[in-house]
């Protein structure tokens, strides 16, 4: 490879920055500016905002991101193997097979521990209050 391959990407990068900057600047120039206190308040469908948006997010988001890191690494390794699929033969396939089996095992573990279940408490509450049979849980 040589760096010239990246010249078009660098030029495009500059072009997009200039385009976005220029058009937003133009919008600032052409558009009116009539701020009112109501207009500048965070939009909450007309209700006066009371709470700061600093509530915590469920830890599940974090677990999903962690799982994603693992899958990203898996994808990278699989790509590196896939470009040499023919040359590496059954040996490569077996090595990658073991690796993939462990990743599947990881997914299975996370699944079983319930980290992939969203909304379960509310569902359970719904079932209890509506006297629905427990079939959904299966």
């Amino acid at each position: 490879m040589n760096l010239a391959d990246y010249l078009p990407i660098a030029i495009m990068l500059l072009l997009v920055i200039v385009f976005a900057g220029a058009s937003i600047g133009l919008g600032n120039l052409l558009g009116p500016r009539r701020p009112t206190p109501e207009k500048l308040a965070p939009y909450e469908c007309g209700i006066v905002p009371e709470l700061e948006p600093s509530q915590r997010f469920p830890v599940k988001f974090y677990l999903v991101a962690m799982l994603f890191v693992i899958f990203d690494i898996e994808i990278i390794f699989l790509f590196a193997w896939a470009v040499r699929f023919r040359e590496l033969g059954w040996f490569g396939l077996a090595a990658v097979g073991i690796f993939t089996a462990l990743v599947i095992e990881t997914l299975g573990y996370v699944w079983k521990r319930g980290a992939l279940d969203w909304n379960i408490p509310r569902r359970a509450r719904y079932r209890l209050s509506h006297d629905v049979a427990d079939e959904e849980a299966a």
Binding site: M1, P53, F61, Y62, V69, I70, L88, F99, L128
Partner: protein, 184 residues
């Protein structure tokens, strides 16, 4: 010296190195934790640029995909699940700056020194023909196949650790308590 400056790649290196140095300093000095994470993105992006300069395309894009695309997103989620402060946080600023700078400098000496003693002015030769991806794929699944398999164990262990820390499994008694609460 004029030779060094006549080579355009060196100019690219200089710019990238400056970006890395400045954003790395901002990572630790910024009082807003989200800004720190974003300066880390900038530093990693410029590092990917350095790998491109070294013709290590695969490594460069892996850095973007895994570190910028996944690990920093994980950091951001980590920030969001604790709290999502939009303003600066005074607690972020630590008093003992001099020892920290000292430690960073020593770290630099160690890494730069070991790099120089290991390679010096030596030319790096390619392992063979083919793109960097193909060479890495071959090395990974032939010479380094054992570490490759070990990595999958490490990943599994990391995730189990993460889940154990993040999720406390409700004991049957606790589950009953929640159900009673719901029924009530």
């Amino acid at each position: 010296m004029s030779d060094w400056f006549s080579e355009p790649a060196n100019w690219v290196f200089l710019v990238l190195a400056l970006v890395i140095a400045v954003s790395a300093v901002r990572v630790v000095t910024s009082t807003n934790v989200v800004h720190s994470a974003l300066f880390l993105v900038l530093a990693l992006g410029a590092t990917a640029g350095l790998f491109l300069l070294l013709s290590a395309e695969f490594v460069a894009w892996v850095l973007v995909l895994v570190y910028i695309g996944a690990v920093i997103v994980l950091f951001l989620f980590g920030i969001m699940i604790t709290r999502a402060p939009t303003g600066p946080n005074v607690e972020m600023d630590h008093r003992p700056r001099a020892p920290a700078a000292m430690a960073a400098f020593l770290m630099f000496i160690v890494t730069a020194g070991s790099g120089l003693t290991a390679f010096g002015d030596q030319e790096i030769t390619r392992l063979g023909d083919g793109t960097s991806t193909e060479l890495i794929g071959e090395q990974l699944l032939q010479r380094f196949v054992i570490p490759f398999e070990v990595v999958s164990f490490v990943l599994l262990a990391a995730l189990i650790g993460g889940i154990t820390l993040a999720r406390r499994d409700a004991s049957p008694a606790e589950e009953e308590a929640t159900e009673e609460e719901v029924q009530a």
